[in-house]
């Protein structure tokens, strides 16, 4: 089928609009690819084939009605498009595990606003994707349902925690997927899998129905092959939701991706703190080459400094676990989720949580509980909140001088499954370049900019001021017009 040549949101929607293909055909093709490749990839926790085909048939009926009428209101922009949803976002009636045994049988009675907005735009949901338990991880190895493989090398991790969504898009199982990003969980897997992913500004996309991890950091974001596709999904996701008081009533700009591919007049800051010892030379080389491409397109490149970058990691790993320890208190074995048999209610709490949570989740609950406990609050949580202010100020000061910041997404390319074993600090260091954007609440856009000697994708990120997604998308679109890294696909995607 022709559309496999370019399995993008834009190409599929054009084919559906022209009537060259039906949503059922595309959805069935996606489900067949899932059936064939999932034994190797394991990108999904819960595939939803019956739901998907019913949604696809409903979409096809709407397309037919519109065609028969000959005129009338155009169908929704994503009508009939198959997508995948990370299993930390609820879809009413479909099991939502969060990658945890404690929610193994949880059927949410409501749908997340981000998911609902895409459903309103016409999407078809083919399944819920794998994630580190409660989104806590950088490799998707912390899932209670087993790890996901990287489509570029099945012995390597896809990144995390939205590793299932990133692997599904990279392997062309779906043209787009939803993820969540608390410390890099959309951008880092997008980078490891060679695709494009956006962490919007904190407060830009509703968190209603996103199972809470670190509530002052969590963001819902789209993953797809191209900036153009990510921009299209973002336009539907963004906007105020009365059900999330932290979603801001800020107007969502119409995003016109310029077709002249110029970056004339755009000031791009390059922070010295993101090119330090320990960074993989292939990553540094590819990102610096990408910055030269931007310069060639007219951008003005300016050295900048974010002096408190080195403190982002300890700040994050106190604040996120502290918020997590409070958020995960709700899993008590009483109202929903796993309950271990016990003689008293107190024992139900201890046993259900002890047996239901995995190692990393328990580690972060312990860390967060300690950081918040009497006698240690000021030294750990309180100090982390103050240093967070310094990190925010770094960004504010830099954005007085430049329009955006260009940096690597991660210090390395995809690492081997099991490589970080039982060394949590080594794993946490994978997030060192993505955490600052969450702490400052600014948007970050990751996209492919090259490959290392092993043929693994390298990602670059652009960060901008609050609610500045449109400028990042325009700049990255110009970059993708001038390069073809985003068009490379893993050998697995040819099968």
């Amino acid at each position: 089928m022709l559309f496999w040549e370019e399995f993008t949101v834009t190409a599929i929607m054009a084919a559906l609009r022209r009537g060259e293909v039906s949503s059922r055909e595309i959805t069935q093709a996606a489900l067949e690819r899932m059936a064939r490749l999932e034994p190797q990839l394991h990108a999904f926790i819960t595939p939803t084939p019956e739901l998907a085909l019913a949604q696809a048939d409903a979409a096809d009926r709407r397309w037919q009605e519109w065609r028969r009428a000959g005129t009338g209101e155009a169908p929704p922009a994503l009508l009939g498009l198959p997508i995948a949803v990370k299993d930390v976002l609820t879809l009413a009636g479909v099991r939502c595990t969060c990658g945890s045994r404690i929610l193994d049988n949880f059927i949410p009675p409501y749908t997340a606003t981000a998911v609902q907005r895409l459903l309103d735009a016409g999407v078809v949901v083919v399944g819920k994707t794998n994630t580190d338990e409660f989104a806590m991880g950088s490799s998707t190895e912390n899932s209670a349902y087993g790890p996901t493989a990287n489509p570029w090398d099945l012995n390597r991790v896809p990144g995390g925690s939205s590793g299932g969504s990133a692997a599904a898009v990279a392997a062309r199982l779906v043209p787009a997927a939803l993820g969540s990003d608390t410390g890099g969980s959309v951008r880092q897997p997008a980078s490891f899998c060679g695709i494009t992913g956006l962490k919007p500004t904190y407060g830009r996309v509703s968190r209603y129905g996103l199972v809470a991890y670190g509530s002052s950091l969590d963001a819902v974001g789209p993953l797809a092959q191209t900036v153009e596709d990510v921009a299209l999904l973002f336009a539907h996701l963004a906007g105020h939701d009365p059900r999330d008081s932290t979603s801001m009533p800020v107007p969502v700009p119409e995003i016109n991706l310029r077709h002249d591919s110029s970056l004339q007049g755009v000031r791009v800051g390059v922070p010295e703190e993101y090119f330090v010892a320990g960074i993989n030379p292939a990553v540094e080389g590819a990102v610096k080459a990408a910055i030269r491409v931007m310069e060639g397109l007219g951008a003005e490149i300016c050295p900048v400094s974010l002096p408190h970058t080195e403190y982002a990691l300890p700040v994050y790993y106190l604040i996120a676990p502290a918020e997590a320890s409070a958020n995960l208190a709700r899993y008590d074995g009483i109202r929903f989720g796993r309950r271990e048999p016990a003689e008293t209610m107190w024992e139900v709490f201890y046993r259900s949580r002890g047996a239901g949570f995995g190692q990393e989740v328990k580690r972060r609950i312990m860390l967060g509980t300690y950081a918040l406990s009497a006698g240690y609050y000021d030294a750990y949580y309180g100090q982390a909140q103050k240093v967070r202010t310094l990190i925010r100020r770094d960004f504010q000061q830099v954005f007085e001088k430049v329009d955006m910041i260009a940096a690597p997404v991660a210090p390395s390319t995809a690492f081997r499954l099991g490589e970080h074993g039982d060394d949590p600090l080594a794993m946490y260091l994978e997030d060192v370049f993505t955490l600052p954007a969450n702490l400052a609440g600014v948007p970050g856009l990751a996209f492919p900019c090259g490959f290392d000697a092993n043929g693994l994708p390298v990602g670059m990120q652009l960060m901008g001021p609050h609610f500045g997604e449109a400028a990042l998308l325009r700049a990255a679109y110009a970059y993708q017009q001038a390069t073809d890294w985003h068009r490379r696909k893993p050998p697995l995607a040819e099968l």
Partner: protein, 95 residues
């Protein structure tokens, strides 16, 4: 920064987590290492710096306080491990 086994047990009790002896030992070592790493935050003088609890520049958006229909009892109990007479059933709370 080195945690004692008693401190680990105290935190686990606060967090209502049942841990095995092996987990207590592992978390004692790993949390000690992480907290030691985090100790570098003490290098910074933050006496004049206000804490950040939210990055939002404007106040949270409030909606009118008007009651709306929520979940039905049946929906609320659908995921309950045990329910009886439209309520969550739990083991004894008091001895």
């Amino acid at each position: 920064m080195s945690l004692t086994r008693e401190e680990v047990e105290h935190i686990a009790e606060l967090a209502r987590l049942e841990l095995s002896a092996e987990e207590k030992d592992r978390y004692r070592q790993q949390l000690s290492a992480i907290l030691e790493y985090a100790a570098r935050l003490q290098e910074l003088d933050t006496s004049q710096i206000p804490p950040t609890s939210t990055v939002l520049a404007q106040r949270a958006a409030l909606r009118p306080d008007i009651p709306e229909p929520g979940l039905t009892i049946e929906e609320a109990l659908r995921n309950a491990p045990a329910a009886e007479q439209d309520q969550f059933r739990v083991p004894p709370v008091l001895e």
